[in-house]
């Protein structure tokens, strides 16, 4: 369960103030996939980072599982998983070593981590290259390793930042299946993407961001009602035209 309330963040770039996020609120329930959508520069990543606790909001707050993130950041991080496009792998470690390393970073007990590794190697079909160095993996294999890495500590909340960027159809399909898997396990998923067609497929609810503010929010049905358009793409084009 994620609750974001009036998140606001501005950066100063060479003396100019840039409002990245200007008061955004939303909620993501358990077993729900929430799509944070918007063109580049809409404030998606900044919002995710604030939820993550990587940057502090200027005002507003985030609750994860009923606990404010600014009260106990360390405890909150145990509840969160994050996977983003830019995520890499350690070229000189084997897949197993890398996953066990992240289990250690999340203070997961080694026997528990071992069990989870077994489970994930089947779910994400990484077993065949578990003991291979990461530098020898293909892009798709690396992607699956990254997805497994996000689940090593079995967090109730998962943040996905543009998870399909740069992936082919097969790679994207793996991600969709992964999201289905998360959903089936009762996790709250916050997904940021600019691939609206994909979002339509996997998200239960949407928040359309533009210039750091939330323009439309709700299920696909709600949005269709509000905008009178059938598809997210059309809604967006309208949004951009307005500004």
């Amino acid at each position: 369960m994620i609750v974001a309330n009036e998140l606001r963040k501005q950066f100063s770039v060479r003396g100019n103030t840039l409002v990245a996020v200007g008061g955004i609120s939303f909620q993501v329930g358990n077993s729900e996939v929430y799509g944070l959508l918007g063109p580049n520069g809409a404030g998606k990543t900044t919002t995710l980072r604030m939820v993550m606790g990587l940057i502090e909001p200027d005002s507003g707050w985030v609750e994860i599982g009923g606990v404010r993130t600014d009260t106990n950041r360390t405890a909150i991080r145990h509840q969160l998983g994050m996977i983003s496009t830019n995520d890499g792998v350690y070229p000189w470690l084997s897949v197993r070593e890398m996953l066990m390393y992240f289990a250690d970073l999340y203070a997961v007990d080694p026997p528990v981590a071992q069990e989870r590794l077994e489970e994930l190697s089947d779910l994400l079909s990484i077993r065949s290259f578990l003991d291979q160095r990461c530098s020898t993996l293909s892009t798709g294999q690396k992607q699956r390793v990254t997805l497994a890495r996000g689940l090593m500590h079995d967090p109730p909340v998962m943040l996905l930042d543009e998870p399909t960027r740069g992936l082919d159809v097969v790679g994207s399909q793996t991600v969709f299946e992964f999201i289905e898997l998360l959903k089936s396990r009762g996790k709250s998923v916050l997904l940021s993407t600019h691939r609206l067609d994909e979002a339509e497929r996997v998200c239960d609810r949407f928040g359309l961001l533009h210039h750091g503010t939330m323009r439309y929010e709700g299920t696909l049905g709600d949005l269709r009602q509000q905008t009178g358009k059938m598809h997210l793409v059309d809604m967006f084009i309208e949004l951009i035209r307005e500004s």
Binding site: F11, S12, V13, L18, A20, R49, M52, L54, I55, T74, A75, R77, H78, L80, M82, S84, N86, D87, G88, V89, Y90, P91, W92, L93, E97, M100, Y101, F102, D104, L105, Y106, A107, D109, P110, R133, R149
Partner: protein, 752 residues
Amino acid sequence: MIGSYFANGRLLRLCLKELRESLRDRRTLITLVLMPILVYPLLSMAMQRLIVGSASGSSDRSEYIIGVANEDAGGVLASAIAETSMAIEQGVRHSIQIRRNNQSLAKQPATIQDAIAGASEKDSADESNQTLGGSKAQFNIVVTDGITLQSALESGQIDLAVISARAESVAVRGNGFYPAYEFEVEFRDADVRSENAMLEFRKAMELVNDAQALRFRGPLPVSVRMVSTATGKKVDAMASLAGILPLILILMTITGAVYPAIDLTAGERERGTMEAMIATPAPRFLLLLSKYVAVVTVAVLTALANLFASWITLSIGGLGRALLGEKGFSLLALVQILPLLVIFAAFFSAILLAMCSFARSFKEAQAYLIPVMLVSLAPALVTLMPNIEFSTLLGIVPLVNILLLSRDIMTGSPQALPAFAAVFSTLLYAAAALVVASKLFGAESATSGSQETWSDLLRRPKRTQLLPDLGDLAVFLAMLFPVFFIVTNLFGQTQMSIGAKLWSNAGMLLVLFFVAPSIVAWYRRLNPQTTFLLRSWTGNLPQVRQRVVRGVGVLLSVCFMAAGLWIVAFEFLQLLKDYGFGLLALEQPEVLEKAKKEFALIPFWIILVTSAIVPAFAEEYFFRGYVLSAFRNRVSSLRAILYSALIFGLFHVITGSMLSLERFFPSTLLGLFLGFVAIRTGSLWPGVLLHAIHNGLVFWLTRFSTKELSDWFGSTNEHFPPIWIFASLASVTLGSALLYFITQRRFYENAT
């Protein structure tokens, strides 16, 4: 929560991951294995050529300058050298030819004749030339005017110094009187040129012996006594090569650390693993620590590989002896230099990590590092200069101190105070750099879009802080120690009156231990009551009566402790002395007595203020205020007391321009008790009182002579009588116990 990262060997596994990552990388292995295997043999070949080149040059055309103190000695020397030529004339050729297979002897008799003729003409001249038969070794005799023979020899103006030259007429079996020469010659130790001059001179004199043996059928030996200058100063170009080896070792250690440092920080960012790592609940300091351990390990491995390779190269080739003197590169020197390299690796790895922590890519990190390396190389090259001495002040210059100390260890003459300063300051710098690194590490990814990483370090907090940050303390100590060291040294060397010294010392203590931490505390918005314990020692007890009982009780117990502690501390020192841990001051009784006499002329109130009250306040303010509080911020009270006492002890090792290592133990002991008092009472003042009484007692006793004191205490040796020791131990125990009970809240609950 953080504790779970230390459980189940997790920290070890985190370090192992970093190590795996860097050791599996081929580029690390190249610097680690390949470089030492290649560098030292190549280097030794180059050196061999250099040495062979210079050596063959010297045997071809050697002109040695022999210094004499006066013209008489010059005359004796000239006639002795002239006899070498006569010896050649009189048929000692045979023996010469055995001695050296030399064709020039037969070919150029005329030259020798001429030389002798020339010599005899100007026998009392300031300078005379003699060509030694059989070789072209030439000795120029110089009377050193103005400077002593020793300094001329040390500065390299002359190659040999004839300290005394005597020619005694000895009757030889009816053949009349002939001179028997006796020379005392000094040469520079471990200096190839001077040693060669010595060898040539001795050969020349042996030639005279042979000639006399032929003439008189009996030896009439020329006695040559050799003295080497054992000053340990290396003045010639050859010996300064001893400075190259540490420089190479250090450079290789740096090279070993650079790659993993970049790879584990900027590299991690470039590969896109940094953010996932920072997003985990693992504390950043721990992440950095594991990287630091890995970098230091690789650096130390590189150092080991290089040390070993250089040791083998130097031992096998005989190059070691040419560079470092008779003993060559001894195993002992190797064992001593290794920890130095470890300390240096610890220091430089921290610097590297701090530099790389905010680089976003490999390229950027390299761009930061190259200027740093070049800048640090400049002073490093200074250490190659032949006349540079490892002075006390250079002891606190990073990099240079380790280089000079290694050089001195290799040539076998390290000194205690600079060595201590080098090791201690380098460790402090390492800690400070590590703190800075941990604050910079991962900061960029958190504040994406803004470049406030450096200013974050110095940001003034918005709210009042109860206790100082431990990282701040490390940085503060790293800045305070060099200043403290320099100022204490200057006081030790300047020719001030004792009174002026006392006042300026007190002033320094106030500035460094009171004013400086106060400024830091103001800037960081530290609560003075909780940080410096500037509050009453009566506690927050509800009733006036209770406060009075606690207040008086604390003062009483502190007095008990003070009454006994100085004797305990003194006996501690004496015990150390008995077990061979020398007391410098007592080994020089005349210096001590003189200081005592001067001391006695100073009014006692001045001593009391400058040496008891001011130090007590300033040191308590800093060590039990700032230092202890910073530790309390992170560790348990017990550990905080221990750590702050150790730092207190280390600072007391430096006295004037001397290093009194033995003072570490009693000072640390005192620090433990003072920490205990501060923690129990929650106030600075009882500790100040204890400290002041302790210092006051010690200085009061210096006003009496040793004899007076031993009469007083009924002691026959340098120890207190057992009854005194027992009484003081009892007094300290009683005081501590009383303090313990009287500061317990329960004590008052039961009483009322």
